[in-house]
Symmetry: C2
Subunit: 130 residues, 2 copies
């Protein structure tokens, strides 16, 4: 796999070689070159996911439960899965928590200005979450 860090921390990435592990269907696009624009736009076209992404926009790592989203936790987990599979977010497992972060750098490298424009648009269109 791409990288593992010490202790109980594990970075889940697409180029993992552990076929059969539970992480297999949790893949994230391996390299920035594989990020698909339609897939990313679709991932960002849902209000709940936009809200999630907005709360990750400061670069912080957030757990599923620490987010302010008006859906059941299973639904939240689903949305994170969509974001991960689109390559918008990556997940790091640490103990019993899963820390999610925006893949800002990778997205910026592949699609310069895109995420920033979407986030700016979101902040300007939803004053309650600005």
């Amino acid at each position: 796999m791409t990288s593992t860090v010490g202790l109980s921390s594990l970075l889940i990435e697409a180029d993992t070689t552990e076929e059969g592990s539970w992480a297999v269907d949790r893949l994230v696009p391996a390299s920035v070159g594989l990020l698909s624009l339609p897939t990313i736009l679709h991932a960002l076209s849902d209000p709940v996911r936009l809200r999630i992404v907005s709360q990750l926009a400061d670069g912080s790592e957030r757990t599923c439960g620490s987010l302010d989203v008006p859906v059941a936790k299973s639904t939240c987990s689903h949305h994170f899965r969509v974001l991960r599979e689109a390559g918008v977010v990556s997940q790091r497992v640490d103990g019993k928590c899963r820390f999610n972060r925006l893949r800002s750098d990778e997205l910026e490298q592949r699609f310069p200005g895109l995420l920033a424009a979407v986030l700016r648009a979101y902040e300007s269109s939803d004053p309650s979450r600005a």
Copy 2:
């Protein structure tokens, strides 16, 4: 309605007052303030629609049939409807033709940089249509 031009040309806009006319369900968001970010991102998240938008990016007016899209004409019409209802495109009827144009200015006013970033991302990710 917002505006009509002379001759047989008719601009289809949302603030039309013709309840019951055939144009009623072909509405385009009335003002730039009503454009919805999730709706726009959804409209742009389909490969065919991205291709359409890309071909309108030079500011030209194009008819449905003059576009290079690999779908049936009814499907193309459907995609234009989605784009219109999201406010991404507006349509002008002239004779037996419907001319579509990108609402670049309105989008730029409401969500600065968004359309440009998407178009740039598209061109860079799909060399065959660049």
